[in-house]
């Protein structure tokens, strides 16, 4: 398992620890050294000023008696202080009276001029401390003492401090590392563990996993507790969802099986209807005709009319059976959608209709380049029915006009078949598409009342809608989309 998270959070914690302790130590060291330097310098000035006082007091009589040798002897006592580089006594008028040099090669060098104004002063310059004091005898100034000291001791001290600071710093950083590793166990490890569990859960979707609580009642522990609870809830819901899904699956399977059985039954039924219901009809029609042909001389006119009625009814029954079968077939047929050229399909249907009634002159107006994604066989049935109906219901008009095109209705595009025929009463428009529903008497216009029901089923099976507009004797328009 990759340990990136582990490395990252512990690294961050360690770095933070080191930075904080390092910074604190640095600030403390700097403050301490600065304080120490200041007090050391004050001590240096104090010590040097005592030495200057002593040298000055001992030089009063040599100054008064003008004995430079005695003054230099006094100054040479400064040898005991190795930090003093040079010293000098000046007369009141600023003339050098006696000098001292720590190094012999410094002899002969001139002492610097002491500014007359600075008679009680000290200053640090070029790593050296210079101190000037006025020699006072019985309340009167008698001369000036001058001492120059190096800061070697202070430099030593600084170096020592630097060494100590380095040792303390590294020791405390090591201590910080140790502390970090302890804290890592307490803080980082539970979080890293939590992160690993979270990653595994999200990758493997195994909501049964749980993070191990630290048992310390601290924030990571609360976090782990909450995380586990959340996992529990997810697991619960997941289980419920899976159960619901399984249940649904089972029910779908059950229904599918039921549907398949029902479909099979329906198929057997249709087959039976197609085969067995027609056979007796054939017998009725056939033997009626045999009667008409072979026994015509023994039947009066009324008997012959009865037989004709029997034959007509039989044929009508045959048509009904065929239409019903067609309707049921359209319901069961598998839909295979492809791009269909509706215009040429409509033209071919129109030609067929015109050929069937050569005595009529029908004005077909078919819009060009109409295409749709549909099952070509089924959409042909739609056009055959709609155009066939239009033909039928215009049969009593002197000039029939049948249009097929595309338009927009209520913001949706729709195909339409319009005729100028008998139309229908809009009050019964909702009955148009019901099976066996007819708005005209059989003597007026023939038909079984199944055509539009078949059309509607095909349209619905394509996911489309069909509706109609019309008025009595003002023609009808059927709209549909696929």
């Amino acid at each position: 398992m990759p340990r990136i998270t582990h490395r990252s959070i512990t690294k961050k914690l360690t770095r933070m620890n080191m930075l904080v302790s390092g910074a604190a130590l640095c600030i403390a060291c700097v403050a301490f050294v600065a304080y120490d330097l200041v007090s050391f310098r004050q001590a240096m000035v104090y010590n040097l000023s005592i030495q200057a006082q002593m040298a000055g007091s001992n030089s009063v009589s040599p100054l008064l008696f003008n004995d430079p040798q005695a003054a230099e002897n006094t100054l040479s006592a400064l040898k005991a202080a190795p930090n003093v580089i040079s010293a000098g006594i000046y007369t009141l008028d600023g003339r050098p009276f006696a000098t001292y040099w720590r190094d012999r090669n410094g002899q002969g060098q001139m002492l610097p001029k002491v500014p007359a104004t600075q008679t009680e002063a000290h200053w640090f310059k070029d790593g050296q401390l210079v101190l000037v004091r006025t020699i006072v005898f019985e309340g009167k100034p008698t001369g000036t003492v001058y001492i120059r000291s190096d800061l070697r001791e202070m430099t030593h001290r600084l170096k020592r401090y630097a060494g100590i600071a380095a040792i303390v710093l590294s020791a405390s950083l090591i201590a910080a590392l140790l502390v970090a590793s302890i804290f890592q166990r307490a803080v980082a490890e539970p979080i890293v563990h939590l992160a690993e569990i979270a990653r595994t859960v999200s990758r493997e979707k195994s909501y049964g996993m749980r993070a191990t609580p630290t048992g310390k009642r601290d924030e990571p522990d609360i976090l782990i507790g909450a995380f586990n609870e959340m996992l529990g809830q997810i697991q619960e819901r997941d289980g419920a969802l899976q159960q619901a899904h399984d249940e649904l699956e089972r029910r779908v399977e059950e229904r599918t099986a039921q549907l398949a059985a029902a479909n099979k039954e329906l198929e057997a039924f249709s087959y039976s209807v197609s085969h067995d219901l027609r056979a007796p009809l054939r017998s009725i029609d056939g033997f009626s005709m045999a009667l008409l042909e072979d026994y015509a001389d023994r039947l009066d006119e009324e008997g012959k009319v009865h037989l004709q009625r029997i034959r007509a009814a039989t044929q009508r029954m045959g048509m009904l059976i065929d239409d019903l079968l067609n309707l049921s077939r359209m319901t069961r047929a598998e839909i295979r959608k492809e791009t269909v050229n509706l215009s040429s399909l409509a033209r071919s249907v129109a030609e067929g209709l015109q050929e069937a009634q050569p005595e009529r002159r029908i004005d077909f107006r078919i819009e060009d380049r109409l295409e749709a994604k549909a099952d070509p066989r089924l959409v042909r049935v739609v056009l055959e029915n709609l155009l066939g109906n239009a033909c039928k219901f215009t049969s009593k008009k002197t000039s029939a006009c049948i249009e097929f095109g595309k338009t927009r209705q209520n913001g949706n595009s729709a195909y339409f078949v319009r005729d100028n025929g008998a139309g229908f009463d809009p009050a019964y428009a909702n009955r148009l598409f019901g099976a066996f529903q007819r708005l005209h008497g059989a003597t007026e216009f023939p038909g079984t009342g199944i055509g539009l029901a078949t059309v509607q089923r095909i349209i619905h099976r394509h996911g489309g809608q069909i509706w109609a507009e019309g008025a009595v004797e003002k023609g009808a328009t059927f709209y549909f989309n696929l």
Binding site: S270, Y271, S274, H275, D276, R278, A279, P280, L281, R282, S283, D285, G286, F287, S288, M289, A290, R311, T314, Q315, M317, G318, D322, L325, R329
Partner: protein
Amino acid sequence: MDKAILLVEDNPDDEALTLRALKKNNIRNEVVIAHDGAEALDYLFGTGKYAGRNTDVLPQVVLLDLKLPKVEGLEVLRRVRADKRTKLLPVVILTSSNEEQDRIDGYGLGANSYVRKPVDFNQFIDAARQLGLYWLILNEPPPSRRS
């Protein structure tokens, strides 16, 4: 002499009407009637009731109904096509069924024609006339095995 027509039909009404329709069209061939699929196969292969029949003499055409007792029409067709003696025998399916599946299966098994029996007897007579004209007069039968 004209060859026989084998009519495989279980419904006596349909049998009578078919015979009448053939007669109306002046088709004088002998019509052999089998009332179920098994009988049809017996006739064609000289078995059972027709044991000893000269099976070299095949009918000119078989008019085969699909829904038959004992052996189904499609099964009769399958066996006729499977036997080398009757492999080339013209078989016309004459049925009430207009189911697409029946047509697919019929042609798939090697039917020569598929004719639906119309309810209107006038149409039926017309169909019989055309069948007779085509299968008995126009159509050249496959050469019999002996010749």
